[in-house]
Symmetry: C2
Subunit: 231 residues, 2 copies
């Protein structure tokens, strides 16, 4: 976990157009002064459920998972997010403690902004506030929609859905390396690890996907989509 307070490069950050599109150059400069970047290696925890929220964070690069731990000690994976989706989630404003944990699935860089600064900005700059609200709304809709999508499907449908999700939403490629273990997929779709593996093996036997360890190749996307829909 390495801390680098780089020279300010926010002016050219591609993020600017997504999150802070309503800030002028002075505003961006000020943001920069209140921001640090932090790098996390694969597997490291970025936020821990229950700990106080002290800053506003967003993912600059990498891939993370949101999850929570049930009273009985099992992990529930809530969703996976790429850059341009916030890491802090709504916990920032809705409470003083993180509702979910966040960990890095790939090496990731997180921008960390003083919470008081973001709140101040939010109060003063209506456009910024509107942009932030809209973005947060989208993220929540995604999480809720995913949960509902999965809920209505059976095992086969859920596996197909997840594979399509990684292929289309996360990697935008027919071939990709799964960033998660089979168990994490199980924790995401709410099924047992053994059955996740079994179902993936069957997809392989049926020529729908090819598997080599973590590497997945979608061989028959049509069939996968049918399975996802009908599941």
């Amino acid at each position: 976990m390495e801390l680098k307070n780089k020279n300010c490069i926010c002016e050219t950050c591609e993020f600017r157009h997504i999150v802070f599109s309503y800030l002028d150059d002075d505003g961006i400069q000020e943001l920069c002064d209140n921001k640090i970047e932090q790098a996390f290696r694969k597997g490291e925890i970025i936020n821990r459920e229950g700990e106080p929220v002290t800053s506003f964070k967003y993912l600059k690069s990498g891939l993370v998972k949101l999850f929570r731990t049930t009273p009985s000690g099992e992990e529930q994976v809530i969703t996976f997010t790429r850059p341009f989706e916030f890491v802090s989630n709504m916990s920032v404003f809705s409470g003083e403690k993180y509702r979910y944990s966040v960990s890095a699935l790939e090496d990731s860089v997180v921008c960390i902004v003083k919470l008081s600064y973001i709140k101040d900005l939010f109060m003063k700059n209506g456009s910024f506030a509107m942009g932030l609200l809209t973005r947060m709304a989208e993220i929540n809709e995604k999480i809720i929609g995913q949960a509902l999508d999965l809920r209505q499907k059976n095992l086969v449908g859920r596996i197909a859905y997840v594979l399509l999700y990684f292929g289309k939403e996360i990697y935008n490629s027919r071939i990709f390396d799964l960033p998660v273990s089979r168990k994490e997929i199980a924790d995401f779709i709410g099924m047992s690890t053994a059955n996740v593996i079994r179902t993936m093996s069957e997809f392989k036997k049926d020529g729908i996907i090819k598997i080599d360890g973590k590497t997945i190749e979608v061989a028959d996307i049509n069939k996968l989509e049918i399975l996802s829909r009908r599941g």
Copy 2:
């Protein structure tokens, strides 16, 4: 579906302290001028999934359910909400169309505010914006948390959870009339109607609850809570 553009009584509306606590008297007066009240009878649709969002709505009195319809035509119930939780949900800012349908489970009154007015207010009044964001965040956390809670439980645990939810969160009473059919409970917890009924009958047999049609009395809340936790 009856429309009444009452004389303005927003100054004394208990809502004021929840949603619009950061508006002064002039602000409230203005809000009133941009608002109408609409009454819905039990069973009526307030918002329909897929239709354009034209106004900002919140529940003044009554009880509603949020739901969506799956491609195969089944209903998925997302959550139930009482007054002080918004009806519009995040759809208002995150997209032009409603993501979910909303219908009245009891006779309900909805306040309808011009969307452009709310957006304008949001832009100009930072405190209002902050209050709104916080509230919306809470609602989303509730929905997501409920979905995750239910996901980790088995049939028995889910039924126990739902009964406790109605008793504690919705009615705050040991005896209450279920505002939903058995099928709607099934659509909420993601189990079959037959098994919802069966499980409730077993709770009755075991003396955990008493059932008389829609009327439920929680006889042994301890046992119910244990079942909910262990389920």
